[in-house]
């Protein structure tokens, strides 16, 4: 039996990499962060599924047509789209090593993100003020869970953005900061992708139905 695992000249074959190849720091960060985003995607998929199941259970309460103001949602969507392209410009400035214009575009991105959050909080406040909070019906519970989770992500994205702006101001566009900015870029654009799902399935389809 043991003879079968031996090669002709008597040496035991090696089935593993004999010496470890080089792993520069941060080489696999982007892939790891992408895997995190995919797991985040699963969280949103579950929230979308919940909304899909409960989205028509109004419990004799207000429905999407009574509550949603599509003009506000369109404005919100515009804010997020603008913040996406300005973050793209920040990344391009970063690639060229321009600290000043990177910081400027990051600041503009943060302001658009903040505008998005303010509009969303205004909408939530308005709904709750009318008595259409998350306690009112299964539809509203799943609505606040889904849209609120997205809003929380944007909130943490803005906090992260401010932290990175301080980092860049302090240490410049060093390799570690470039890596962090690229991770936040993926996070920010990912939130935009999730918002496409939100405005289509929650707001537009809710009003059409």
């Amino acid at each position: 039996m043991s003879a079968s695992t031996q090669t002709m000249n008597g040496e035991a074959p090696v089935f593993y990499v004999a010496d470890e190849h080089d792993h520069p720091p941060g080489q696999s960060t982007m892939l790891g962060f992408w895997l995190y985003l995919m797991s985040d995607c699963l969280i949103f998929a579950m929230l979308f599924a919940t909304f899909g199941v409960l989205g028509t259970s109004y419990a004799a309460g207000p429905g999407p047509k009574d509550l949603f103001d599509l003009k506000l949602v369109a404005l919100n969507t515009a804010m997020l789209l603008f913040s996406s392209i300005t973050y793209g410009f920040a990344m391009l400035a970063m690639m060229k090593g321009k600290v000043g214009s990177t910081q400027m575009w990051l600041a503009i991105t943060g302001l658009f993100g903040l505008a998005f959050l303010c509009i969303e909080l205004y909408e939530f406040h308005h709904m709750i003020h009318e008595g259409a909070g998350w306690w009112r019906s299964a539809f509203l519970s799943s609505f606040f869970a889904l849209v609120g989770t997205h809003g929380l992500h944007v909130t943490f994205g803005i906090i992260w953005l401010v932290v990175l702006m301080v980092q860049v101001a302090k240490f410049g566009l060093i390799e570690a900061n470039q890596r962090r900015l690229m991770c936040l870029s993926m996070f920010w654009h990912f939130l935009d992708v999730v918002w496409i799902g939100v405005f289509t399935f929650v707001y537009l389809m809710g009003v059409v139905r």
Binding site: M38, M46, A49, I196
Partner: protein, 136 residues
């Protein structure tokens, strides 16, 4: 032929430069340009305006058609964002990002379709039926 070889060489040396500066992300990842970001932005503006217009102006009478069109536009827009903003391609990180994405999509489709299917039938088949026999 020689031009090809030269192009290949200059690319290699560029990759090497990146390593020397410690960027270390020259593994098929694409970082976009003004042109690609602007293309993505214009496409996503168009793909956002159309569904909002369709719904807010009530262009199409048939609700099912409206829903089908806005869902199709959303799917196209998600692909546009993936390609132009998230720079998804088949070669980044040796194809592992794409593998992770495909796996996630499969799980998402199973979870969404399964939940909606099962819960719809539960709703239809197991709603309490009013017993009318004792009614006067």
């Amino acid at each position: 032929m020689s031009a090809d070889a030269h192009a290949g060489h200059s690319h290699d040396s560029h990759g090497h430069d990146n390593h020397a500066h410690g960027h270390g992300h020259d593994d098929g990842r694409d970082h976009g340009s003004y042109k690609s970001y602007l293309t993505g932005f214009i496409l996503s503006v168009i793909l956002t305006v159309i569904p909002f217009y369709l719904v807010m102006a009530g262009v199409i009478e048939n609700k099912n058609w409206t829903i089908a069109i806005i869902v199709a536009l959303a799917v196209v827009q998600i692909v546009v964002h993936m390609v132009y903003f998230l720079h998804m391609n088949t070669t980044s990180d040796g194809g592992w990002t794409l593998m992770a994405l495909i796996f996630t999509l499969i799980v998402v489709v199973i979870a969404l379709a399964g939940s909606l299917w099962v819960m719809y039938h539960l709703n239809v088949n197991m709603m309490p039926v009013h017993d009318m026999r004792n009614m006067p």
